[in-house]
Amino acid sequence: MATNNSSQQSGAGPPPKPWERAGGTSSGPAPFKPPSAGSTSDVVEASGTARPGEIVPTNDTTSAINRSTLGRPVPSRPWEQQQTYGGAGYGSGLGYNSGLGAGGYGSYGGMGSYNSGLYGNNMYRGGYGGLGGVGGMYGGGMYGGGMYNSSYGMGGMGMGMGGMGMGMGMGGPYGDEDPNNPFGAPSQPPGFWISLMRVMQGFVTFFGRVAMLIDQNAQAFHMFMSALLQLFDRSGLLYGELARFVLRILGAKTKPKKLHPPGPSGPHGPQTQIEGPKGAPAGAWDGVWGNN
């Protein structure tokens, strides 16, 4: 590597780009108006399109000016309120990626609908409940119905992914603090409702970003879930233990499974006979070699 290019002065601009040295090599007339002279802000102001500091609210419907040019409807954003939360209403209208189960794309409702799609309606429902619970929590609890009703509880998050969400989401109250803020003393600690709202904001952010990642990488997520389900399946956790685990969380008493049921239990006899030495009946070895 060469050393610093000391001839470069601040403000003088970088070395000319390779394509600038090469000159104009466009394969034909470009379909753009010729560039204007002057600074960018002057050019934009001269064109009459400048709108300094415009803040576009997230629910601004005017942003969908050219929606009609799209080939298909666009899924709702994860952070948007889901009126028709759930599998059928939201997901099936899109037909976005049927392999993922009715548009698991990009919303909490979508995550819920994931549960009711490919994995939900078949035997894997139990194993996938954790994520489905998330969908329920946001779609039904926080926004759709009562604001703080009990579906916000951790029970909805269930197992697996739920644990992760819980731990990180609790970081929410401090998410808005800027460590680089040089001004003044720390402010008053926020009140209960404020901090609760921030926790919820943290949840929304967290699951919004998870949903966006899934959005951007749908195939890998599908592979991940398949692998996870296979793992559960192989370990025998999926059907028995998992269901028992859920029941136990819900407060139901389950009897512990007996590992070694007494007595023969099948056509091949009790498995325990394989283990350990067994006393042979007296004289059992006599005549083995045809002792005539």
Binding site: M1, A2, N4, Q8, S10, G11, P14, P15, K17, P18, W19, T25, S26, S27, G28, A30, P31, F32, K33, P35, S36, S39, T40, S41, V43, V44, S47, T49, R51, P52, G53, E54, T58, S63, I65, N66, R67, T69, L70, G71, V74, P75, R77, M168, G175, D176, E177, D178, P179, N180, P182, R209, M212, L213, D215, Q216, N217, A218, Q219, A220
Partner: protein, 316 residues
Amino acid sequence: MPVFKTPFNGYSVKFSPFYEQRLAVATSQNFGILGNGRLHVIDLSPAGPIAEIAAFDTADGVYDVSWSESHDSLLIAAVADGSVKLYDLSLPPTSNPVRSLSEHTRETHSVDYNSVRRDSFISSSWDDTIKLWTIDRPTSVRTFKEHAYCVYSAAWNPRHADVFASASGDCTARIWDVREPGSNMILPAHEFEILSCDWNKYDDAVIATSSVDKSIKVWDVRNYRVPVAVLNGHGYAVRKVKFSPHRGSVIVSCSYDMSVCMWDYMVEDSLIGRYDHHTEFAVGVDMSVLVEGLLASTGWDELVYVWQHGTDPKAP
């Protein structure tokens, strides 16, 4: 070539347009889902480890970074809290960021500095908008809101100071002129979300788009009914695509399949290089403007690789 280990998951890497050995790396904690972020500025040395020049912490993940084309010490970061932050390497860490521009209402996902006029940059965000900023103003000059879904990336035309392209989750790429009220062109480029776009440096009417559908498509904006080329080879969504600054038909891309690929869209066997050095999603890639063939990549395995095309990135 040595490797640089970052404490957080890598999101973006960019070569400095001023110094051939300098790079900036944007990283985010917990895969950018929740937590802090850090912006690293690193220097390559001829022999020996990569040295860190500076690091700046943020209260949320950093998704993208862009070097200023007017000042060699100025950096712009796209932060997940929706802000766009300016950092000056010549100032002490306590004075940084020199500016924090908070107008986006959702995560800012990309920034790109205008390399022609060198006084402005654009940021794209999950709030469906693109904002145009100049370095001398505390507010955005204007906002481009037409996309119906998150705008994952926006890139200036390297030969035209007023034109840029944007890639969005609404499955369109759009071409904009900052003097026009709306977009100039709408390219329904892919069936799935478009994650990245970039301009050909040697033909100002050619852009490349990369998508969740695992493909990269090259388009001529004068006739965008059919793509000029479709590059298949990635196994998962293609996260970033970038045209070579040195050769007009060469493209580099990185993908969720953890590979970095190099393509020449003019030739029949267009895949001319494949690097599988990352062990997690490869989400950031760049090509040096000053050294031909020098590549850099970063990913969720918290590693930054810098290597010459044709050599093994993992070779010491």
